[in-house]
């Protein structure tokens, strides 16, 4: 059996400043969420505006409306995420639902 127990890997022996912070450290900045929101918002606005200047060839009539893809993407994603609340109530069960005699853990 070659699986190595998680405990053997939980400690990084390198200094406290981790190498990953060089690339992704900005994501832990308190304002990172706001900056990301602004960046993606501006990008989305630009793409939405571009819809008024680019001629589209559509084979599905419904998609001919301006900003169809933008609105569809936002609504579909939002709908899926919001459906998670009732679905979890309906389908969510405790972790040992199928095998109550055994403590389930990943793997």
């Amino acid at each position: 059996m070659s699986e190595i127990t998680p405990e053997e890997h939980t400690q990084d022996t390198r200094p406290a400043k981790h190498s990953g912070e060089r690339y992704f450290g900005w994501t832990s900045h308190p304002k990172a969420g706001l900056y990301t929101f602004i960046f993606v918002g501006v990008l989305a606005a630009g793409l939405a505006l571009a819809d008024f200047f680019v001629h589209r060839h559509e084979y599905i009539h419904l998609a001919e409306f301006k900003m169809f893809y933008a609105l569809f993407g936002f609504a579909a994603f939002g709908g899926v995420v919001l459906s998670g609340w009732p679905l979890r109530k309906l389908l969510g069960r405790p972790e040992n639902y199928y095998e109550p005699e055994e403590e389930t853990d990943n793997g």
């Binding site: 190595i4 405990e7 022996t13 793409l47 599905i60 993407g73 994603f77 899926v80 969510g92 095998e99």
Partner: protein, 595 residues
């Protein structure tokens, strides 16, 4: 010598080479020789594929029991699937190099080899043999996790996979009866398959493939087993079984209308399960369902563009889905879990794994410049060209859904989100190398001017149609713009919902799916039946025995040589009269019977 080797390779099914490497991997105990075999086997298989000497004609046959088995025949579509399988087998071997487990190495290669061999088989019995070999070998990749849950899941997995093989064999029997042969050339050709209405036996074949492709309601073996496999096993499993089924559907049922709806439903329903699933490997399994749905739908449409789309999507998907499973495999290996509730902030110490995961996520989400875009666009366009509005809307919805579960949820909850406080080491070098190679393919295929898109499109079964699409439709401004609008606005929805705390937080627990039916009510019904039988059985058996004894006693007392009917002259008289009546009946039959 060199020519003889070349000739041998050009007539050898690459799958056989990989299977042989798998058998050797079990016997060879030295780490370096085993690494040479596990990586060299698939590479030699690649060389064999490159050297294949002819298209669409048998390259190796076996005559047995008055039948011809076509062990090796190369079609254009089998090159696409076979090449992707061989690349995946090579990358998977690199990913598993740190494993000091000959059995897993061996079974992973035999499983991959069986899938490859089936892809290049030219008759149904050869496919059946390798179909079953994929089931039997792959189960070890789940079993080796060593947990009770993994054991139970592996038995459920094995049962349903073997059932698929039995149905395939039943279908083959009917096809043999109808066509007198099982060689593909007798009953299918490229783009022309079997008919569910006209060909008896086709339905068995269809269900057999449906099980392996994880059609809706037949899909739960996938989430059940992949999430419980070893950290390397899940990577291997993700590449072969479902895509072998997609390949078989492509060969046997192109243009089968029902596949359009089956595929569309497959793309949509996993999206809802994935959003509430806590185990990220299970999320990936749902995502796999969703992606295979695109391929199944494209096969159902059956136009050259759609069939190209299914093949291209399978090729790209095998690599980027493997990459995502590898990134979660690395997390599993280092942290010991892939549950979102226990992860977060891993970018600090696993930055390269995070980068590779993001590349896989961008590819599966079909962001322009990544492989998913050039592959999935073919299918979306094919649906659009056929003006199938509802199907197209379903696939577009599923595209936004992919971004949710695979594009954002996987990398975000594993590597970013809240800091779990865990500081695991970066993945071992061999894992990073494997993820790096897979990432290279994701970018090479998707990025224009690097030649990868031309390479993939050049491989496709309908090459001319693919090249026209590449030149006229793929990189047009409106196509790139609309795809970016869909994805960026979907990402904006994520950010907004997250900021206003409407994104459902990850929560420990299981999510009920259709497997509830056989794991709960059906299981309890069987347990109850068994308990009832255990209690009522002995009493019923005793009563039946007593009754049969009494009946036997009466019969014996009446008809035995010592019985009532044998005593006195009556029995002799009865014998004489019976003979007379029988003689009269025979004479009458001779006189009035048909002449």
């Amino acid at each position: 010598m060199g020519d003889a080797l070349m000739s041998l390779l050009s007539h050898t099914n690459p799958g056989f080479i990989v299977i042989l490497a798998g058998m050797l991997a079990y016997v060879i105990r030295g780490e370096i020789p085993r690494a040479v075999v596990t990586i060299g086997g698939p590479l030699l298989g690649l060389a064999a594929l490159v050297l294949h000497s002819a298209l669409s004609e048998p390259l190796a046959t076996l005559n047995m029991m008055d039948m011809t088995f076509v062990l090796y025949q190369v079609e254009r579509v089998s090159i696409v699937f076979g090449l992707a399988f061989l690349i995946a087998a090579t990358v998977n071997s690199i990913f598993a190099l740190h494993n000091k487990d000959p059995l897993q190495d061996s079974m992973a290669l035999i499983y991959a080899g069986a899938a490859i061999a089936a892809t290049f088989a030219g008759d149904l019995i050869t496919v059946f043999v390798f179909w079953e070999l994929t089931a039997v070998s792959s189960v070890f990749l789940i079993l080796k996790s060593g947990t009770p849950e993994a054991y139970k899941a592996s038995m459920r997995y094995l049962g349903i996979q073997i059932l698929s093989g039995v149905l395939l064999l039943m279908g083959a029997t009917f096809i043999m009866g109808e066509f007198g042969t099982l060689e593909f050339d007798a009953f299918i050709s490229e783009g022309e398959g079997l008919s569910l209405q006209d060909d008896p036996g086709a339905i068995f074949l269809f269900v057999a493939l449906g099980i392996k492709a994880a059609f809706p309601l037949l899909h739960n073996w996938l989430q059940d087993s992949y999430s419980k496999a070893t950290h390397t096993g899940a990577v291997v499993l993700s590449a072969f079984t479902t895509k072998l089924a997609v390949y078989a559907l492509w060969r046997f049922f192109p243009g089968e209308d029902s596949l359009i709806w089956i595929g569309a439903i497959m793309t949509v329903f996993p999206v809802f399960f994935a959003v509430i699933e806590n185990d990220l490997r299970k999320v990936l399994a749902y995502s796999l369902n969703n992606q295979v749905g695109f391929m199944v739908c494209a096969i159902g449409i059956g136009t050259p563009l759609a069939l190209n789309g299914a093949a291209a999507h399978a090729f790209a998907h095998i690599i980027y889905k493997g990459l995502l499973f590898m990134s979660m495999g690395a997390v599993m290996y280092r942290v010991g879990t892939t549950k979102a509730t226990e992860l977060g902030g891993l970018y600090r110490t696993m930055p390269f794994t995070a980068i590779f995961c993001i590349i896989g996520a961008a590819s599966i989400s079909a962001f322009p410049l990544f492989s998913g875009f050039v592959a999935k666009s073919l299918t979306m366009s094919a649906v659009g060209y056929e003006h199938m509005t509802i199907i197209w809307m379903m696939l577009l919805f599923a595209s936004a859904g992919v971004l949710e579960h695979s594009g954002i949820k996987i990398p975000f909850f594993a590597f970013f989100a809240h800091d779990s406080g865990k500081r695991p080491k970066e993945a071992p070098f061999n894992m990073l190398l494997a993820m790096g190679i897979a990432s290279f393919f994701c970018i090479w295929i998707g990025f224009p001017f690097l030649g990868g898109t031309e390479f993939l499109y050049g491989l496709l079964p309908y090459r001319d149609e693919a090249m026209v699409y590449l030149e006229q439709s793929l990189w047009t401004t409106d196509h790139v713009l609309t795809q970016m609008q869909l994805l960026v606005f979907a990402a904006l929805a994520f950010i907004v919902l997250n900021r206003v705390k409407l994104y459902p937080p990850e929560k420990r627990g299981v999510v009920l799916d259709f497997d509830w039916v056989y794991r709960r009510p059906l299981y309890h019904a069987l347990v109850w039946t068994g308990a009832v039988w255990n209690k009522a059985g002995p009493a019923m058996t005793g009563a039946a025995l007593r009754l049969s004894r009494r009946v036997y006693n009466h019969i014996e007392a009446t008809f035995s040589p010592q019985g009532e009917l044998s005593r006195g002259p009556l029995s002799a008289g009865m014998a004489i009269w019976t003979s007379i009546v029988l003689a009269i009946v025979m004479v009458l039959a001779l006189i009035v019977g048909p002449h």
